[in-house]
Symmetry: D2
């Protein structure tokens, strides 16, 4: 390994994580390819955990950012008005909100997903005067104290060092398997004054649980949960941080559903370029935080406004990109089915280009990803036991690169599971 | 006002704040000057609330960032190893940690100050197995749920919508005025098994409380608190987010004090360029988070590594910059004394280039800042009642610009208070 | 109404409750009959909410208590050793614990049920080092802050004025109706490391939920929950405050089940005479509170030791009393079935002599009880909407009195529902 | 030791406490004397921790209780109206409330002090819509979860096993020694919107901290705290559980102070006879709990109403008893001064007949009490380190018995400290 590596061991915290399995010192990246300092190239099926939906260093965003910096555009502006923010807001309004009939307002906070979730939870509590927030099994919403209470993962919860309060956990769609409609439980408890579930300020959900194992809720379930929220005076918060920005096939993950979320949290790919950026969309009636009541030094990252505007204008002016995602999603599914066929009991998860295969054990999933990495593919697992091989490739990945990466994955799975390559016979 | 303004009203949340008093749409900025879209130039005495200690678009950082982006350097890399991160860590080790005899390790989290504080509080609780964290009156540590519990400001606390737990509040240095050593109270309560103060996981403090009104703790008080923490098995966390990175005259705000903080939280000016970036320094024995136990998508902002490295190499290789800060601090103090002389009971606050004048009422302080803004100076208030006129100009502000800004401030104060210009007689 | 009544309105808090519906000033009581100051006699089907399982002023207990007081026996002894306590413990050991193969130790705390629950919850947390306690929908465990967190009723929860933390609510047996085994949910969540249910210190349940509407859990469900607790390192707490002391047909409500509760909370009828008294039974390994770590001035009510001992010796030396309860339970069920037949959809609840009829609406149930009261029967409702007419008559009620009371109830139901008396035709 | 003793070891929880130091099996008690099963007599300077202010088995209360039971008076009546309760309320109104100009209403809850405190805290939160309750260093208010949060003692707090929230701790009168007026801190924090002290629902205090070491607050301090509560919209709760019922010289401990507590909690000696009983007095405007909103099976212990009424009529019809307490308080102080003179640095604590001597170490205090016990005196320690020898003898102790007990104490102290008996020389 590189000599530079030693500085990480010497001075970087033991909390570092991805770099342990993906043991390369990277130097640069373009599109869906990353280059190590040794010149080796890797196909990127991780995409910054869905923060790089448009790949690395998209040339148009890159040029716009270079122009901005060269012209002494602001890097940091607190929440002051800037021409850059105005241009972003205008594009977001024109290409995202208006076509979808959304009258939401946009609030920028500290540029992290967890911060968006914290702001959403606080706002819902302020709007309703209630404390309880319903979240779901296997949900992941962040690791700062408020958001962590809504996160299911016990490893992360265990790091709180203090009680995680104010959240009632309900079973996510299909959590109990066939036959149970888990929304029944939610409805019964909401209607029962002795259920012990305090009247909720909000019901908060991901339509596809990225960290939780690519669990995709059905349209019917999300719609029913949305109706229950409305009936019980609770806000519906859709945490679209990982599933949004096109990942599931449409800009928002809930566009095909008949729901009107009161709050939508966004981060990850919102900047388009991988820059820290977070926001929440708020129905105007609930836009009741006072000035700076929820604040943060880096709210409204100006560089991110630049690239986010380009991302919207480049990819979301018409529905061509949606068609592209749908097609690639099918390609991905096909390869995942091949993998699934090698592992008894394995099954596909997710939708759009947020897909994976549950191979039943974290060990096996990690073996497959490890073998793929040796062959030049950066890919990770997810799920409560890391049992899901997860593909989060850039949405604009060239088809050739995509197929190349998928071939590596299938071959890695074949090697690890000991399956013969039937096609070769 | 500009037509672009309407988009802010139409689509940006009512939570926006600074833009209300500073009613300009900014287009660009260089050094300590900001330019509006109408071409008007403003001197910047706010400096992104101490996030722009080296001014806007420092030419060396700017060039390095342009180079990085042009060469397809990574924008987003999760916590993967990169050559960029290695270079930053090496500079930070060489120019910051080693000369100060600090063996701390560095952890990157979601790039916001509040996230650094959350990580620090969680880590202290994990290290000690205790829950309680002592923080101080008028302290400000962020607005996500964990950090907010440690923040004193009632406006921000009121937005939580849920109990803020796990923190014991003690009086900050000089909080009770002359005659009381507030550390006495801390010591007595720590030593009394019936005080009701649970054994603390950490004592967390700012050496100068930026948002709290530029209250500067004395060397003796900080040292005593540090000793008490050690004696009682509590970690000492110094939140250096606002006071660090040179703001008080040295890189860390506590360098002149005989303390060894177990954890130091950093953000704001750490990137040098105003980019979102946060870290905490951890004594190696306490570096016990497991991989990704506290995580975050944007931990380790790669663009920020580029500029942060340049900032360190440009400003902190020797002690010339410290001398410059000291000199400018005196210049600032002189002007503030002029202002103080116009207001009965007014007095100076802070140290280094983190200074202000307490004019006794928020209304007066805001009038002075408002008048200064009309004259082309961006400046803000702080303190529990906004009663402190606060100067957070870039540390590398040219002396001429500094004096020009100070003259505006003094004149604004004179006009608002109705004082004659004595020097003119 | 009596002139004495005015003092209640003048000086007793508006929190008074039963006296509003049962508008009599009582003077004395014997067995299952209570006498008002006007000389009128009422049959008591409330029995102090199961605190008077042996009726009012049982002659043997009464005589023993008179003897004790006459002889200057201690009234208050903190937790000092007394001959009275020794005698009680010996009887409890001999007639209750030993025959049932229970090696539990007995802890006395402040003489209220809620205090026993608080002690149990604290002890389970201490034993396991975990915080979370699983309790169930419709459970009622008391209204002090710790116990209230485990209580489902929203009216009581709403009075907390502060967050109720540390409890995860799961669906009680049959909560979701036919077809769902609610223990499935508990098992899945316990086994899923991302369910968001923190590892529990205890699972706490009533085998019959008295306040919750006389919901009787099945043997299979309780046994399965008990096994799940054991498998997951959680203590099993059976709150037998209302269902214990013979109410369901055996001394403990769980005797017919194959469970070994780690902690059993007891109160209500434990003293036998209606005197304040509470205790918990603890498996010896978990008897780890330090001296007075959980204390209370009135722990170990000496007068209650006197009557409790007599109760045990009089009623629980052999199984005659169990047979009597079984028989009377059947008699009660028969009459309740008559009532149920008058109301479409009505159905029977409970078991042993802890029975009622769910008439579908609180209004109807209250009308029936109100009419019964006019006819000389003291009877109350329970359930989340007070929709259950509840019979908690003394276990030793003479059969004649029982039938007389039941006749009143049936007649009251007939009048309220407008049903003709078919038997008369 | 007695053979009966083994049953305690076999079946009573390790949480038992007083019986460890006071190793006797008691059989009966009269006035201020307790008799062991071996016939030995002990003078009682513990008085059930102030629950037996009128001694054991006061003949008038005893006779009234015997009459009540013999006549089948109710033992348990929930919160139904009874002639017994009416008689008590009338006496309490006539002899206690009216002469003191108190228009308070009385609420009965589960008959324990901690339950009264829980009810008071809940009510204050409901009245104000605020959560925070200010309590004081060294305060003791009970061990159920809500009250425990307000209790200072770390041994008891440590048993919670969960966070204790909703309370801000402030220094009690004289906590910081001479020179500091601790109410200054309270006032400054209440007035500072960035102090981090959330606006309080209530300020709760004991005028003399019984468990905390017999710390007696000054009249001026209590009055100032009372004014601060009023000014800041907080209720003033005086927890008079241990210091009330005559213990400090007047019925309420605050009668000589110019304060109007909004809520007064009472328990311990309220029944007069050592029976479990608790109540709170509430200013009528704040009597806003709904029916049974805070409830409890044993609220309103009917036997206790009988004896409590006699206690009031016997001792509080005129001021003779107050004079008697004052005189005995002086006698006690005199002896304690003798003890203090034997121990360098020792000093007297408390007032009225709630007095002790701080001998500087728990070990010494326990040695003195242990030696006294050998000589036939039951006496205990208090304070954060058990460093205070505490006298809580019955208020109606015959002077001869009192002097005899004091002589034992002085002699025990002399033997333990090795002091010669100077008077004998």
């Amino acid at each position: 390994m590189s000599t530079e590596k030693t500085i990480f061991e010497r001075r970087e915290s033991e909390a570092r994580s991805y770099c342990r399995g993906i043991d390369v010192v990277f130097e640069s990246a373009q599109g869906s390819e990353m280059k190590g300092e040794d010149g080796r190239t890797y196909i990127d099926f991780l995409a910054g955990c869905s923060s790089l939906n448009y790949g690395h260093n998209d040339p148009d965003m890159k040029q716009a950012l270079l122009n901005h910096i060269s012209a002494d555009g602001l890097a940091h502006a607190l929440d002051l008005h800037t021409t850059t923010k105005a241009a972003f807001l205008e594009s977001f309004e024109k290409y995202i909100l208006e076509p979808r009939g959304m009258d939401h307002k946009m609030m920028f906070m500290g540029p992290t997903g967890t911060n968006a979730v914290e702001a959403a939870m606080k706002l819902a509590r302020k709007v309703t005067g209630r404390e309880n927030i319903v979240s779901f099994t296997d949900g992941f919403h962040g690791v700062t104290l408020g958001a962590l209470a809504a996160t299911g993962n016990s490893y992360h919860r265990g790091a709180a060092g203090i009680s995680l309060n104010g959240v009632t956990r309900m079973p996510y769609d299909a959590y109990m398997g066939e036959g149970y409609d888990t929304a029944d439980m939610l409805e019964v408890m909401l209607n029962d004054s002795s259920s012990g579930m305090d009247a909720p300020a909000a019901i908060m959900l991901e339509t596809v649980q990225g960290e939780g194992g690519l669990n995709a809720a059905s349209k019917a379930w999300v719609e029913r949960v949305g109706r229950l929220a409305k009936e019980h005076g609770a806000l519906l918060i859709i945490d679209d941080i990982q599933a949004g920005c096109g990942r599931t096939g449409t800009f928002f993950s809930f566009e095909d559903m008949d729901v009107q979320p009161d709050i939508v949290t966004m981060a990850k790919s919102l900047s388009g370029f991988g820059l820290p950026f977070a926001a929440m969309l708020i129905k105007p009636d609930y836009d009741i935080f006072g000035p700076a009541e929820h604040n943060g030094t880096f709210r409204g990252n100006t560089h991110a406004f630049v690239t986010a505007r380009v991302a919207i204008e480049k990819y979301w002016k018409d529905d061509a990109f949606e068609a592209e995602i749908a097609k690639k999603g099918d390609i991905i599914a096909e390869s995942l089915r091949e993998v699934a066929d090698m592992v008894p009991g394995a099954f596909l998860k997710g939708r759009g280009m947020m897909r994976g295969v549950d191979v039943g054990s974290g060990e096996l999933a990690e073996d497959i990803c490890g073998r793929a990495f040796e062959k030049g593919l950066v890919i990770e697992t997810s799920g409560s036991d890391d049992q899901v091989v997860k593909i989060l490739v850039a949405l604009n990945v060239p088809e050739e690169t995509l197929r190349k990466g998928l071939d590596i994955l299938v071959e890695a799975a074949r090697e690890v599971t000991g399956h013969k390559q039937i096609a070769a016979e």
